[in-house]
Amino acid sequence: MRRIRDNEFSLFLPFRATGQRITLLILIFFATALFIVGKTNSTLSERARSQLADVAVPVLDVLSQPILALDWAAKRVVDMIFVYRENDQLRETNRRLMEWQAKALRLEQENERFQELLNVKNDYGKVFLTPRVVADASGPFVHAKLLNVGLADGVRKGQVATDDFGLVGQIVAVGQRSARLLLLTDLNSRVPILVGAKQHPAILAGDNTIAFLPVGVQVAPGDLVLTSGAGGVFPPRLPIGRVVTSRDDVVRVQLFSDSDRLDFVNIMDFRPEPRLEDPRTSDASK
């Protein structure tokens, strides 16, 4: 029955085919043009993206609720199964953490006193928002997340996001009610870092390898990787991860943050120290 109807359609096809083919060619041309324009002028496509994200985020916000609920239920079941064992572990961890807390408080006081003596001004940034990740904006070459906050909530381009364990990424586009968070694993991500106890400066690239390590410097697996704050884009001394392998000039880093299971992120408000300005231009602006 259906076969016959399909044949009916194909009887008319030759008459409509020319028009359809022209439409198709025009659309292919248009898509190619968009691709080329996007490559040469990315501001235009970025603006379109932010505007669309503004529309999409409320929808995605609602749609992602069932997934969150399922996730929560699954976690609950697992928690219930392991509740006793986990309780023992937690007690042990708690005891150890209390020792660490005492140590940290003492060090913090000491550090503050030293900084006062040396007249150091530090800006480590402050968490001011904890938005929800409502959509995944990733593909084989892009690693990003959509957040349900935007300009209206005080989010600005360039702000930094962390999870409970470390740096996650940076806000690269903001709409009224949405923001795009570029993850550290994205191809285009570059973060100035410090590696190891000696704090060698380098750059963390998007494939989680370290680039531009000073010549002759040796790093070992286990070495801590922190943001350096160089360039004033990221706050200094944020934990990023640890070196896992260092072989054939390729140093790989295992991130502390877990971008696969990211449901909430902390957005940090960070204003870098004003850079040295050309006195003439700053005079002109007054």
Partner: protein, 169 residues
Amino acid sequence: MKPSVLHHVDTGLRAITPVLLTFLLLVISRLPFGIEGLESAMPLLTLMAAYFWTIYRPNLMPSIALFLLGLLQDLVTGGPLGLMALVLLLVHWLVDAQRRVFLGKSFVVAWWGFGLVALGAEGVIWLLACIYYDDLLGVKPFAFQFMLTVAIYPCFAWLFSWVQRAIVK
């Protein structure tokens, strides 16, 4: 007999079901599932829809719809604008020319054909992404996405043909 307004609405709704369904799948595929590695290798659901409907009901998945769906996908995934739109249109073009090969054949033939189309599409996506980013991108995530897309095609082909039988008619 003159068809009633309701009848028109009914046929209209049935006719846009394939496009609406693809749109819905596109939105769902962007939700944060929290499954490790899935986000970068999310199967190309729009590719499946473009292939299936171009073979079985090309009039219900016009090129303009594919263009818009592809554009939407580019916008939400953060990929180069126009890339998926171009790929879906090329698939539409190719499959439309060859649809008689697949019509009325067994599912295995259609699946095999989809494998070929997906391989070509993923290759074009990789190539265009390399051009866009001026960089030789690693093939691994693309290969993984291709395999996942082909592997779960039967599930969606089943869903689409059920929709075709039950709703589109």
